[in-house]
């Protein structure tokens, strides 16, 4: 635990227990999403599915990176991860991104993917608002993750016909925003 760093955050009036719980819940969401996206990606096949597989894979890897980036901050603030993986799964900040009943329904899969990203966007926006101008390190981390989650949402949203994402998929390394926290 980073004692003084924790004290500094507490002095700003942030409810530290609440913040740590939010970080743990979002870390759980990231790791469980990594798991569920593995299944979704494997099922994104055929003429329609193959076109989405690559962005699903990028989102999957970046969500795992988000988990890796969140964990050190949780421990710095005096928190910890549950010992039981099932407990960790069940306290996730987002519902499970389960494979739709018809795994050949690519549109249904896209809806699962975009819903998962939207849940993440809401969650990190909330943490950013909570920490802005108070807990600079958590804010910096949450903003970085939020940037990537917004891009994931826009990729899947584009495939659902909701309008252009406004950018290309990743070229080169993943996690252009969060990378600095996991090097």
């Amino acid at each position: 635990m980073a004692k003084v760093a924790r004290e500094m955050v507490e002095k700003t009036g942030i409810n530290l227990d609440q913040l740590v719980e939010l970080l743990v819940k979002n870390a759980a969401a990231e790791l469980t999403t990594f798991y569920y996206y593995t299944i979704l990606r494997a099922n994104l096949i055929g003429l329609e599915g193959e076109g989405i597989k690559e962005i699903a894979e990028t989102a999957r890897i970046e969500d795992r990176n988000h988990f890796e980036a969140l964990v050190p901050r949780i421990y710095e603030l005096g928190g910890k991860l549950p010992e039981d993986m099932k407990v960790f799964h069940d306290l996730s900040a987002c519902p499970p991104a389960r494979l739709p009943k018809n795994p050949k329904d690519v549109k249904a899969m896209l809806k699962v993917l975009v819903e998962a990203e939207r849940c993440a966007v809401r969650g990190y926006t909330y943490i950013c608002n909570l920490t802005a101008g108070k807990d600079h390190r958590t804010y910096d981390l949450s903003t970085a993750i939020l940037n990537e989650e917004i891009e994931h949402e826009s990729w899947f949203s584009e495939f659902l016909g909701e309008g252009p994402s406004g950018h290309f998929m990743r070229r080169g390394e993943t996690s252009p925003f969060v990378g600095k926290f996991i090097r």
Binding site: D17, Q18, E21, L22, K25, D90, L91, S92, A93, C94, P95, P96, R122, G123, T125, Y126, N129
Partner: protein
């Protein structure tokens, strides 16, 4: 549709196997089966069995999330 008073709603707090109901703008929603309301708690911030009409403004989501939960009663606003 069933009308709830404050005491009846408070009993539906999702604890110890109880149903988890919340009130919002005069309606009572059943959130018992919602993943994000397990044990009658929504993050660390909200608990079932209460009127959350004035809480949504601060939430990172809008009414669309409530629309996913069944309305099972009324909670007359004061």
């Amino acid at each position: 549709m069933r009308r709830f008073n404050e005491k009846e709603l408070a009993r539906c707090n999702g604890e110890a196997g109880a149903s988890a109901f919340i009130a919002y703008k005069g309606n009572v929603y059943d959130v018992s089966r919602n993943f994000l309301w397990q044990g009658g708690r929504h993050f660390r911030i909200h608990t079932a069995g209460s009127d959350l009409t004035h809480c949504l403004d601060l939430a990172p989501h809008g009414e669309e999330m409530l629309e996913r939960c069944p309305v099972i009663g009324e909670f007359p606003e004061e």
